[in-house]
Amino acid sequence: MGLTGLFLITFLVVHVGVNSCIFVNDGGETFNTAAHFMSHNWILRIMEVGLFAGLILHIIQGLILWKQNRAARPVKYSANKASQNSAWYSRSMGLLGTLLLFFLIIHVSKFFVDTKIALYADGGANDASHNLFEEMKEEFQKWWVVVIYVLGVISLFWHLLHGFQSAFQTFGINHKRYTPIIKAIGVGYTIIVCLLFALMPISFYMGWIS
């Protein structure tokens, strides 16, 4: 869980980095160059397979944990004040992860699949004309798409807030001096990544980027 989690955390750095190119606000030129590189470079194409394998493994691990942990407590407490001993989001990783999965299905079925169609359908005839920046701009004019994306990012925020530091504990890294630093980096990472992700649909919708 920790290993695949940290792997996905490193992927998010790349994802948010490429997407942040839209903030250059040059009509999508920088962003489309970066996106083109990401979808055409063969090394990245191979890594993409690894990314999906990592994501699927993370989901399978989560499902196994969920099943075993449910079996460990067949009779539930009738009174349980869990909020007094732990944070709600640390107890809700499965729920947050499920919300994220729903979001990912919506997200991937639009942008990822469209890019693949442009690449492969009709022998890649539409590849040159495929403009991901324009597609994003168009998609994020719909208010409900923006709402779905912001909700997805909120789920991601709480999932990462627990997941980042939790992974290190799983690997056995718990140190008087370094653990507070790891936790601070985790909080910083979560805020920056989620803020940048949330700003994309909002910026398009508000017309800050054209």
Partner: protein, 254 residues
């Protein structure tokens, strides 16, 4: 602290035996002193029930000094009640007000079957200890204490881990019903000391294997265990056990 008496409504889990299904029973207790312990309050209630010819509430207790770890009760939604770093015998009735309704139920864990009412069988912990929570020593005279140099900070950390009383509050409080805090305290205690070195690798592997076999859940680092532990055992022990487990898993030839 000012003394006062109180009348309470208790909703207590009643279960005839391991196989029978249980349910909550409501009891009224009157004139309970704020200076009583929670167990003494149960003593009063049980005397009352016996006089009335009813079935008294079965609950586990031994030392009533906060060190035996027998009192497997989830009180008002918390392991061992509302106070932190506490056992039920050390939970005093001043934690409650006149007119309160208190829900009392046993630890809920597949690995801790209910024997009767509030008593659970924590034999799973014994079996984990038998799997590796020991050291091999030669018989004969005790070795001179100072012949084995131990770093002060290791001795302190081992002592902190050794203060675990095996009460199972960590399992009870954990949303996943995981026993990682208990097992890690026992693994840490012996891994930190020279006496524990010969079985260091096999110990962690065998104890974790037994823990999984008993049907405990998995650790997702919510740290509810540390917050509810009557002895304040730190989750840094869980990290230590994870390290030990990784190391042992990589170097073992089995």
């Amino acid at each position: 602290m000012e003394h006062y008496n109180m009348n309470l409504t208790l909703k207590v889990w009643k279960q005839k035996n391991t196989k029978a299904g249980g349910s909550f029973e409501t009891y009224q207790v009157k004139n309970i002193s704020s200076e009583m312990s929670f167990l003494e309050m149960f003593d009063v209630l049980n005397e009352q029930l016996i006089t009335e010819g009813k079935d008294p509430i079965a609950f586990d207790h031994d030392c009533r000094e906060g060190i035996c770890g027998m009192c497997s009760m989830y009180i008002d939604g918390r392991a061992h009640g509302p106070w932190t770093k506490n056992t039920v015998c050390q939970l005093h009735m001043r934690a409650f007000k006149d007119g309160d309704t208190i829900v009392v139920e046993p630890w809920r864990s597949a690995a801790f079957p209910v024997i009767k009412d509030l008593m659970v069988d924590r034999g799973a912990f014994d079996r984990i200890m038998q799997a590796g929570g020991f050291i091999s020593v030669n018989t004969g005279n005790a070795v001179d204490a100072n012949s084995l140099p131990i770093d002060k900070k290791d001795a302190d950390a081992a002592f902190d881990a050794a203060s675990c009383i095996g009460c199972g509050a960590c399992v009870a409080a954990c949303t996943n019903g995981s026993a990682m805090l208990f097992v890690s305290a026992k693994v840490s205690q012996l891994a930190l000391l020279p006496q524990g070195q010969p079985e260091r690798e096999s110990r962690v592997l065998n104890m974790v294997a037994q823990m999984d076999k008993e049907g405990f859940g998995n650790c997702t680092n919510t740290y509810a265990c540390e917050a509810e532990c009557p002895k304040g055992i730190s989750v840094s022990n869980i990290a230590r056990m994870n390290r030990e487990y990784l190391k042992a898993g990589l170097s073992t030839e089995e």
